[in-house]
């Protein structure tokens, strides 16, 4: 039995003056993949942000790798450096003078002030490996602002895999990826879990992919409407409960 990497108890979060997440509790087991699904505005990204300590909690507790998240969202640097996060997008208006390799290199550095040339060789080698692993090696000299949406997502994943971690949080990271890139992305997540013991939490709207890859599904619509294995959670009745009566569940036959 794996130990829980994340324990969330009775978490409530307010956003823009209203309760966006209400009394949510769940655990993420080590090396598991958990998907958060739900309609737009259900509080999925808010849940993720609060879990990472980026938004203040109204109530409840969050424990990551055995360490309690403080009320102002602080975690010790040693725990922070075990967490990787892929946001929905980056602010890249206009020409942004930052190469892909430089960006991925920033993922290598632990928190805290450092001179830019600190551990230059180690960083360079780790960046090459990470870019190779995510199929982005040809993009290393491109500007971040020159990439397509799908390429940017792959580069953001390189930022995460450039150093060993234990928890990977993805906020709709696979949206915009073409079919081969999506498959490769999913394969890499599987490798990270099985070979390196990573735990993955991702927000997704792709229910077919969630059904195929996740161990646990959290159906969120402000409150946790359902949770459990995909077979238990993604049933037509529960999906209608979660998304409303207009939801028409469709399952790809080729995946059985």
């Amino acid at each position: 039995m794996h130990s829980p990497v994340v324990v969330v108890s009775d978490l409530s979060v307010e956003r823009s003056g209203r309760l966006a997440v209400e009394e949510v509790s769940f655990e993420l087991q080590s090396e598991s993949e958990t998907a958060v699904v739900g309609p737009n505005g259900a509080g999925k990204s808010t849940l993720v942000a609060a879990l990472l300590g980026l938004l203040p909690r109204t109530a409840g507790q969050v424990q990551i790798l055995g360490q309690q998240l403080s009320s102002n969202g602080d975690l010790p640097g040693a725990i922070r450096s075990q967490i990787a996060y892929v946001p929905q997008s980056l602010a890249l208006q206009g020409r942004f003078p930052l190469s892909v390799a430089e960006f991925v290199g920033f993922g290598f550095d632990p928190p805290g002030p450092r001179w830019p040339w600190h551990q230059h060789r180690k960083r360079k080698s780790a960046v090459e490996k990470a870019l190779d692993r995510t199929g982005c090696i040809d993009l290393r000299n491109r500007l971040l602002s020159e990439l397509s949406g799908g390429q940017l997502k792959r580069v953001m994943l390189s930022f995460c895999v450039v150093r060993p971690r234990q928890l990977l949080v993805l906020d709709e990271a696979q949206a915009g990826l073409d079919v081969p890139s999506n498959e490769r992305f999913q394969q890499l997540l599987l490798e990270l879990r099985r070979q390196e013991g990573w735990t993955v939490l991702h927000v997704s709207h792709d229910l077919d992919m969630v059904r195929r890859s996740s161990d646990q599904v959290l159906g969120l619509n402000r409150r946790l409407c359902c949770s459990g294995s995909p077979d238990h959670t993604l049933t037509p009745e529960r999906l209608v409960d979660l998304y409303g009566p207009n939801m028409v569940p469709y399952r790809h036959q080729c995946h059985g």
Binding site: G53, L90, F96
Partner: protein, 285 residues
């Protein structure tokens, strides 16, 4: 034709030497902080800070304290308050900054109209007087440049990640609130210190134009910061030399040279001077 003798005479004057060093340091400082400010869409913020500085000077005159002493704390408090307003308000940032800077300007002009002895100095406040830069000013600007270089070098990762995505920065351990505030306070101090040399109306050009030129030319972040700073310093130096030779106002001369530098960067980045590809054309095409 450049009159070399006239140039040599001008350069021999101590006030001109101080002005050149002051211009070089102020330009380099503006370009350095501008490189981050422009990416973080704080260009308009530096403009608002410049206009608020006029109000700070006016308050100093009204309460009978040396305006230079009032200016730095005033700019810092003003920057923190505006930052709070922008963070907490649901209105767009550019609209809020417009309200702030036009109100500061209006208040400053109203207060200045009450002070008989300062009416003649408005032009100096608006366009700066780099020739009036003292040795103490040079020491302060120099120390500020060193402090800004150290802070930006040590926090380069934090500055970049904060600019790209605040949540990503927070998730990997960047103290986002602290770094946002530290940068804004640093920008406020730089603007306050540079006002004497550059003037209220032109201070934002020192922050924005060299950084935009650098942004067009560079593909590596540290190089972009260095080029922006170097362009800021070089343009200030050339502008002051041109001003000394032609007897034109110094601040506007520097801004015109900065603009020329920006145009050159624009042309260079447009690909006109890039070598054509040497690969053979595809025979099937």
């Amino acid at each position: 034709m450049v009159d070399i003798q006239a140039l040599a005479l001008v350069l021999a004057e101590p006030f001109m030497q101080r002005a050149l060093i002051g211009g070089l340091l102020t330009g380099a400082l503006g370009g350095l902080l501008g490189s981050v400010a422009v990416l973080r869409e704080l260009s308009f913020f530096s403009d608002a800070l410049g206009h608020s500085a006029l109000l700070g000077i006016t308050v100093g005159i009204l309460i009978g304290v040396n305006p230079t002493l009032v200016l730095i704390p005033f700019a810092v408090v003003f920057a923190i308050l505006v930052n709070q307003l922008v963070e907490r308000s649901s209105l767009p940032t550019d609209a809020l900054l417009n309200i702030v800077y036009s109100t500061s300007l209006a208040a400053a002009i109203l207060f200045l109209s009450l002070v008989e002895s300062y009416r003649g100095g408005i032009r100096q406040l608006l366009f700066g007087d780099i020739l009036g830069v003292s040795s103490l000013d040079l020491i302060v600007i120099g120390m500020l440049l060193v402090a800004a270089l150290i802070y930006l070098s040590l926090s380069l990762r934090a500055q970049v990640l904060l600019t790209l995505n605040q949540e990503l920065a927070g998730a990997v351990g960047v103290q986002t609130r602290w770094h946002r505030l530290a940068f804004i306070v640093l920008l406020a101090v730089v603007v306050a210190v540079s006002i004497k040399a550059v003037g209220v109306l032109l201070i934002s050009a020192f922050v924005v134009i060299p950084a935009c030129a650098g942004r067009l030319l560079c593909r590596r972040f540290p190089l972009y910061v260095i080029v922006s700073s170097a362009l800021g310093g070089t343009c200030a130096l050339l502008g002051l030399l041109a001003s000394g030779l032609t007897n034109l106002p110094s601040g506007p001369s520097v801004v015109m040279v900065q603009f020329l530098g920006f145009l050159i960067a624009l042309v260079l980045s447009s690909g006109i001077f890039r070598r054509p590809s040497t690969t053979a054309p595809d025979p099937q095409l």
